[in-house]
């Protein structure tokens, strides 16, 4: 009876059997060194793979929000520029209103400035970034403000002529303007004229913009209003003041009536200028929020990437060490197998 026994097959195959296992380990370590990630992320992470997928999705989502914010920022600064433009024109107009003496001598130049400013206002309100009209609210495909010389002027002429019995074709040049009393003018300005700049008249003859502003998602859980529109109070007031000075024939008015118009115009422009400033401030806050949410989202991206690499990454140094150990093991396995194969009693008998 033999005290110990081993079959030739298990003797020689013991070292051999470990080879495939070692080889696949080497190939795994090789991949890990090359990519810095687990060779089979899903197999290594198991139940936490979903977390990793989630993080990848989140990273892309935040990145796409940052990209979209670039467009939002562009839209906001375009709007700000336009508003600055409008405010400058309004301020210039206000200065002229203040400096012009209340006589009909300066009235003609004021009338001209009123018309130019009106054209400037409509042109600015119709600014487009090539894709949308930025003052149109959500109705961004349609030019927000009608050409002043068309529908708005016609409506104004009709109202003006009807009120004071002027020539409906060209009321501005009717000599009867001189007979309008300050009281009548004041009443006209406060009712019929003012009504043209209120809804529904404003919507039919002046503006096709929407009252509803664009709302954008500027971070993962924040939405912000990123536009203003041509229907806001300061825009109507500016249009009203420019029309008042430009197209009521102030050159032909009596001094006292002119005084009423200019007083009214000063009040309205003053209010409009402060209104425009308020709008600019509000949009400025949004710009600030976009900028700060961009900053925080950049941090989110960095943090997400760190989390992903904590989940999926491998230490290359560790992988390299493992690889070296495996290679040594593999060499030993080969050597042992070869040695065992050479051993046979036949060589010694």
């Amino acid at each position: 009876m033999m005290s110990s026994y081993i079959s030739t097959l298990s003797w020689t195959s013991a070292a051999l059997n470990t080879l495939p296992k070692l080889q696949s380990e080497v190939s795994k370590a090789n991949t890990e060194i090359a990519t810095g990630r687990h060779a089979d992320v899903g197999l290594t992470l198991g139940i936490t793979t979903g977390r990793s997928v989630d993080l990848h999705t989140k990273e892309t989502a935040v990145q796409s929000l940052i990209d979209a914010n670039a467009l939002t920022t562009n839209q906001l600064s375009l709007t700000q520029n336009a508003l600055t433009d409008i405010a400058n024109t309004a301020n210039g107009f206000l200065q002229s209103l203040m400096s012009v003496p209340d006589t009909s001598g300066g009235a003609a130049s004021l009338e001209a400035q009123g018309r130019t400013s009106m054209n400037g206002l409509t042109a600015t309100l119709n600014t487009s970034d090539g894709k949308r009209f930025i003052f149109a609210g959500v109705n961004s495909a349609v030019r927000p403000v009608a050409d002043y010389s068309a529908a708005p002027k016609a409506a104004l002429n009709a109202a003006f002529a009807a009120k004071f019995g002027l020539d409906p074709t060209d009321p501005q040049n009717d000599s009867q303007i001189a007979n309008i009393t300050p009281a009548a003018m004041s009443s006209f300005l406060d009712t019929e004229f003012a009504n043209m700049f209120k809804d529904p008249a404003w919507g039919t003859s002046w503006s096709s913009a929407s009252n509803e502003n664009l709302v954008s998602r500027i971070s993962q859980n924040e939405r912000a209003t990123v536009s203003t529109n041509a229907n806001t109070k300061p825009m109507r007031e500016l249009a009203m003041a420019y029309a008042m000075v430009g197209d009521l024939g102030i050159g032909k008015m009596s001094a006292s009536t002119l005084q009423v118009v200019l007083d009214k115009a000063r009040t309205v422009v003053g209010s409009a200028v402060s209104g425009v400033t308020d709008t600019q401030a509000a949009l400025g806050v949004t710009q600030q929020r976009v900028a700060s949410s961009n900053d925080s989202m950049a941090q989110v991206v960095a943090a997400t990437q760190a989390q992903i690499s904590a989940l999926e990454g491998v230490d290359p140094a560790e992988a390299k060490t493992r690889m070296d150990t495996l290679t040594t093991q593999l060499q030993m396995s080969y050597a042992t197998t070869a040695k065992l194969m050479q051993l046979s009693i036949l060589n010694y008998v």
Binding site: M2, Y5, I6, S7, T8, L9, S10, W11, S13, A14, N17, V41, G42, L43, T44, L45, G46, I47, T48, T49, G50, R51, S52, V53, D54, H56, T57, T60, A61, S64, L65, D67, A68, L71, T72, K131, R132, A136, G137, V138, N139, S140, A141, V142, S210, E212, L214, V215, S216, R217, R223, I308, E312, S344, I345, L346, V349
Partner: protein
């Protein structure tokens, strides 16, 4: 002791040595065959002092052999499960790839968000529809992969069953040889080796337990207790299903009329390839398909259009169509296979992607953007909110309900990879057990060439000595006869 006795002893020694040499040669021949066991010539000394061969046995270890059988079954079963999960994993890919439904959903969400920020941009609208088509095609392809995998598993079961039947027939031949030989007292070791090898192959297909009766007659049961072999081979039957869809359920494997796998198994086999394949076909793929179907249902519901006019019109499918006219409210098997992008939205077939912003794919009553504002974002933002809102999911998906769609889809990836991880670990440990058990068995019952050669040298000496003895006895007789003459 007479010279004749010495002569007889030497003669029987020669015969015994020859038989021992023959056995040793058989051992040398079988050294490379893992299923061959070491043959042992059993000798005895007779009353007159000569050695005689009683019979030939083999080295065996029943406990180790049964352990090897169990390990073989377990390893084959886990291997089948792991391979199936590897196929399923193709629908998910790496975490960085955009293959998985979760990643495609994320892309759709991003496209929708970008479009909601600039609803007047038709290019972005088209991008949403493209992302949506990608999701739909991804779900369709995943469903196809899952159902093909079920079909493959089913046909592999059919192959395994026919192999088992074939092996049982071979088993019967060897078992009969063993029983007859044992009754007659002849050498049955080769038949025993062959029978063991066949049984190992059967164990790869399905787990077995054995009982050995008189004359080495073996009875084989499945590990669940159904009779596979008793004196004669029992029939294993299976009717394969040619094409699988989500609503198909595969047939059972029957052993001797008893169902041992599949939906209504009375005695389900626990291990072996058939058990593993059945797990893949009836459990893993079905659960995964349920998850895909629930993702599809979530998408259809998210983008469904509701009546805007209070006229009581039903909620109808919007961007995603479920292959039927209504929005499914419960788990619908196969939905992920038929989900498609509504052609009314698809610009490549003349649709208008702006319907995403305006609503109204199902008629005027469903229009939300009644003023036709180009930058109308409320509807889009509402859709984004719905997409990111928590939903109820069917428990058949085995994932937590009350999460949003993206989390559910990511959960599906988690589920799959967790299954794969545990199957891989189980497969590794099963194959380690198998390799250890078969190594132990081979160590105990295998053949050692060096030992055989040493034994042959010894036998050679013994043969020489016996021959010499005969020569000496002959010479003695010669001397005797010379004296007589």
């Amino acid at each position: 002791m007479s010279l004749t006795t010495a002569f007889n002893t030497a003669q029987s020694s020669l015969l015994t040595t020859a038989t021992q040499l023959a056995t040793s040669s058989r051992n040398v021949a079988g050294a490379g065959d893992p299923s061959a066991s070491r043959k042992i010539t059993v000798t005895t000394t007779t009353a007159d002092g000569s050695a005689r061969v009683v019979n030939i046995t083999r080295a065996s270890d029943n406990l180790l052999y049964e352990r090897t059988l169990r390990a073989t079954s377990a390893s084959a079963g886990q291997q089948a499960v792991l391979q199936g999960l590897g196929q399923l994993q193709l629908t998910v890919g790496d975490t960085t790839s955009s293959t998985s439904p979760a990643a495609k959903l994320g892309a759709l969400d991003n496209a929708l968000n970008t479009y909601a920020n600039a609803p007047d941009n038709t290019t972005l609208a088209t991008a949403v529809v493209t992302a949506a088509r990608d999701v739909a095609i991804g779900l369709n392809a995943a469903t196809m992969t899952v159902q093909q995998l079920r079909g493959t598993a089913d046909s592999k079961i059919a192959d395994a069953v026919s192999q088992v039947n074939d092996l049982l027939t071979q088993f019967q031949a060897q078992n009969t040889a063993v029983v007859v030989g044992s009754e007659n007292g002849t050498d049955v070791t080769d038949a025993l080796d062959k029978r063991d090898a066949i049984l190992s192959k059967i164990a790869e297909k399905m787990g077995v337990t054995t009982v050995t009766r008189a004359y080495n007659d073996m009875v084989v049961y499945t590990d669940s207790g159904a009779t596979l072999f008793e004196t004669t081979a029992r029939t294993v039957s299976f009717k394969s299903t040619p094409v699988f869809d989500a609503a198909t359920s595969g047939n059972s494997v029957f052993v001797d009329g008893v169902s041992v796998s599949g939906p209504s198994a009375a005695m389900p086999v626990q291990s072996g390839e058939i058990a593993g394949l059945t797990t893949v076909r009836d459990s893993l793929t079905v659960t995964y398909q349920n998850q895909l179907d629930e993702i599809a249902r979530g998408l259809v519901a998210t983008f469904a259009e509701s009546d805007q006019t209070a006229s009581g019109a039903p909620t109808l499918p919007g961007l995603f169509t479920p292959g039927s006219a209504s929005v499914p409210g419960t788990l619908t098997p196969g939905l992920a296979g038929v989900i498609a992008v509504n052609s009314a939205f698809d610009p490549t077939v003349g649709g208008s992607p702006a319907l995403l912003r305006d609503g109204g794919a199902n008629g005027a009553a469903y229009v939300v953007n009644t003023a036709s504002a180009a930058a109308y974002s409320a509807h889009l933002q509402a859709t984004v909110t719905t997409l990111e809102a928590a939903r109820t999911f069917d428990p058949a998906g085995q994932l937590s309900s009350g999460t949003d769609l993206a989390t559910f889809a990511a959960g599906s990836v988690s589920w799959l990879e967790a299954q794969r991880q545990s199957a891989s670990a189980a497969s590794d440990s099963a194959s380690a057990v198998l390799s250890q058990a078969s190594n132990a068995l081979s160590t105990t019952t295998g053949i050692n060439l060096d030992q055989e050669y040493a034994a042959q040298l010894e036998l050679e000496r013994s043969y020489q000595a016996s021959s010499k003895l005969i020569g000496v006895v002959g010479q003695l007789y010669d001397s005797l006869f010379a004296v007589i003459r």
